[in-house]
């Protein structure tokens, strides 16, 4: 309990200073908000890769899916009275449902087959969304999503509002920070708390045991497919939550959010940050999104640089940025990455 409190406190402190430290190095407050929202998806992705050993290469179907459901809810179901809670809840529940349907089909395959099958489903959903033009506007995506305020009883909070002006010298001005940032940061903290509790729980313990040795786990009496399914649904819901928030934050959704690049980005963020660490996916998301933002302004070959970083991380830093700071982090990271591609059920 005390460990959890310390973890949350330190993470909260990090999140408080984050938008200010990226200011002098070429970032901006809006980027900080985007990082925090996308991190939620990365944390969910790492629940699959790091804990369950399942390398999903189709997480964008939940990220983009949550975004589209939220956008359609706001545009069609509540254009007059947009409510952020309901829109986000709808997006999250819908993605959990989609993950449940797809999960029943994919949890029985492993490693590279699992990765390819999730990729195939993501491509199918991409195609369906692109074709359902009456609802999704096809390639053009959905624009002018109503700005949904945050309701607390009768009070509503406009997340676009900014903090009061206060000059922080090289660290910018407090007024550059929209209320979106603290809101998204609180959601991320809650998600981290949830995933941390889940990892330490009986469920998390069994999930890790199944990753390490599925056959033994089945023959002490656990049903592996159910655990893998549950992990897939929870990860899908968290990724959907991130996509829903991002849709409202951006005010637009586009098919790219469902695409293979988006799916790959969660893999890169998590591996660079550190699989099997709770904060690794957050750190990885921050580092890569920051570099993308800064470097793509100067060079057209950001994608090449990103690929090189990814390869270097796998080869020289399999524990990722956070894992490398820990003893045995590299060994565990390498074992997890290797196993996540093994097409046989987890065997030691």
């Amino acid at each position: 309990m005390r460990g959890t409190f310390r973890f949350l406190l330190l993470t909260a402190l990090g999140l408080i200073v984050f938008p200010f430290i990226i200011h002098p190095i070429g970032g901006y407050a809006g980027l900080a908000t985007q990082v925090v929202i996308v991190s939620i998806a990365s944390v969910g992705f790492n629940l699959l890769l790091g804990e369950a050993g399942m390398l999903s290469y189709g997480q964008a179907m939940f990220y983009g899916g949550g975004g589209y459901v939220t956008a359609i809810l706001l545009l069609r179901a509540m254009p007059e009275h947009p409510n952020l809670w309901l829109a986000v809840l709808g997006g999250t529940v819908a993605t959990a449902f989609i993950a449940g349907v797809i999960g029943t089909l994919v949890v029985r395959v492993y490693g590279i087959y699992f990765a390819l099958l999730t990729l195939a489903f993501a491509q199918m959903i991409f195609f369906i969304v692109e074709q359902a033009k009456q609802w999704t506007n096809g390639d053009d995506g959905l624009q002018s999503i109503p700005d949904a305020p945050l309701w607390f009883g009768p009070q509503s909070v406009d997340l676009q509002a900014t903090l009061p002006p206060f000059d922080l010298g090289p660290f910018g001005n407090l007024s550059e920070i929209h209320l979106w940032y603290p809101f998204a940061a609180v959601v991320l903290l809650l998600v981290l708390w949830f995933v941390r509790t889940l990892n330490a729980s009986q469920f998390g313990e069994v999930l890790a045991a199944i990753r390490e040795n599925e056959e033994r786990s089945a023959f002490v009496g656990f049903i592996p497919a159910r655990y893998r399914f549950a992990a897939f649904v929870v990860a899908g819901a968290l990724t959907g939550l991130a996509g829903s928030l991002r849709a409202i934050y951006d005010g637009v959704v586009a098919v790219e959010g469902l695409g293979i690049d988006r799916s790959g980005s969660f893999v890169i963020y998590t591996v660079v940050g550190g699989v099997q660490t709770l904060l690794g996916p957050v750190v990885g998301t921050a580092v890569i999104m920051y570099l993308e933002n800064v470097l793509s302004a100067h060079t057209g070959s950001w994608r090449l640089i990103e690929g090189v970083i990814f390869v270097l991380a796998i080869v020289f830093m399999p524990g990722g940025i956070v894992g490398t700071l820990r003893s045995a982090g590299a060994r565990k990271g390498r074992a997890t990455l290797r196993k996540s591609l093994d097409p046989r059920p987890g065997a030691p």
């Binding site: 509790t197 729980s201 469920f203 045991a209 390490e212 023959f219 002490v220 009496g221 049903i223």
Partner: protein, 254 residues
């Protein structure tokens, strides 16, 4: 009747690894399953434990048909197995290995228990500790399972099975590859276990088998060749022919 099979068969393509096996064990019995390599012993065990699905026949456990019951569910009914090659969580401590099995017993085949940790479950600790004690591995409780000696790994595998509180325990070559000392220790363990539960054992070591079994089933080319007490099996001419290569009974160690 603890366990019974009728017409049990398993085919891989055109190859019948196990065919038409009628088999039954009484509660508390120590039954050996022997036969030359490729006789279908391990396949037979895999059918009973649910690693493999039967292609013919039925399996019943305590009068209940379990032919289509999944492996994990059979464990909860009371059928546990130790593997031919010790099947452990090598990265975890010896105690944690047993705790996982005990957790399965306490928690059931699936529990979406995402809040509470297993550390609070006293029953898990008790089960795990008593399983470790049964195989005399308490002293190694904190050792990483992957670092154990070959013999200790195999005994830990048995302890894992015991932590699930089995009624029928399947031991697939428990002393294979062990040193003499380790083998003697394990033999004592098997005898001890047999006083508490039904034990089915596959073993090539005839000294051990003849010495400890209540009864023996001989498999040959996937079929039951003979079944009976050690003395009966030893005297069986067909067994001598098929399994012992035609040597006389006098040459078989007693």
């Amino acid at each position: 009747m603890a366990l019974e099979t009728r017409g049990l068969g398993k085919s891989f393509g055109h190859f019948a690894a196990v065919a038409d096996v009628d088999f039954h064990v009484e509660p508390g019995e120590l039954r050996a399953v022997i036969g030359p390599n490729g006789a279908g012993k391990t396949t037979f065990f895999n059918l009973i434990s649910g690693v493999l699905e039967a292609s013919a026949g039925t399996i019943s456990f305590e009068g209940r048909d379990v032919t289509r019951t999944s492996g994990p569910h059979r464990v909860h009914l009371g059928i546990a197995k130790a593997f031919q090659t010790a099947n452990l969580y090598p990265e975890r401590s010896v105690l944690q290995n047993c705790r996982l099995a005990a957790l399965a017993h306490v928690q059931g085949p699936f529990a979406f228990e995402v809040i509470r940790a297993s550390q609070r479950l006293g029953a898990v600790d008790e089960l795990a500790a008593s399983a470790l004690e049964s195989v005399d591995l308490q002293a190694a409780a904190d050792v990483r399972a992957g670092e154990l000696s070959h013999g200790d790994k195999k005994r830990l595998d048995i302890a894992i099975a015991l932590a699930t509180r089995p009624k029928v325990l399947l031991l697939d070559e428990p002393i294979a590859g062990m040193s003499k000392d380790e083998a003697r220790k394990t033999e004592g363990l098997v005898k001890q276990l047999a006083s508490k539960m039904t034990v089915l054992i596959i073993e090539h070591d005839m000294d051990l088998i003849m010495g400890i079994s209540d009864s023996i089933t001989v498999l040959h080319q996937g079929r039951v060749l003979a079944s009976g007490t050690p003395a009966e099996v030893r005297a069986n001419a067909e067994v001598q022919q098929a399994y012992l290569g035609g040597h006389s009974a006098a040459e078989i160690p007693t």
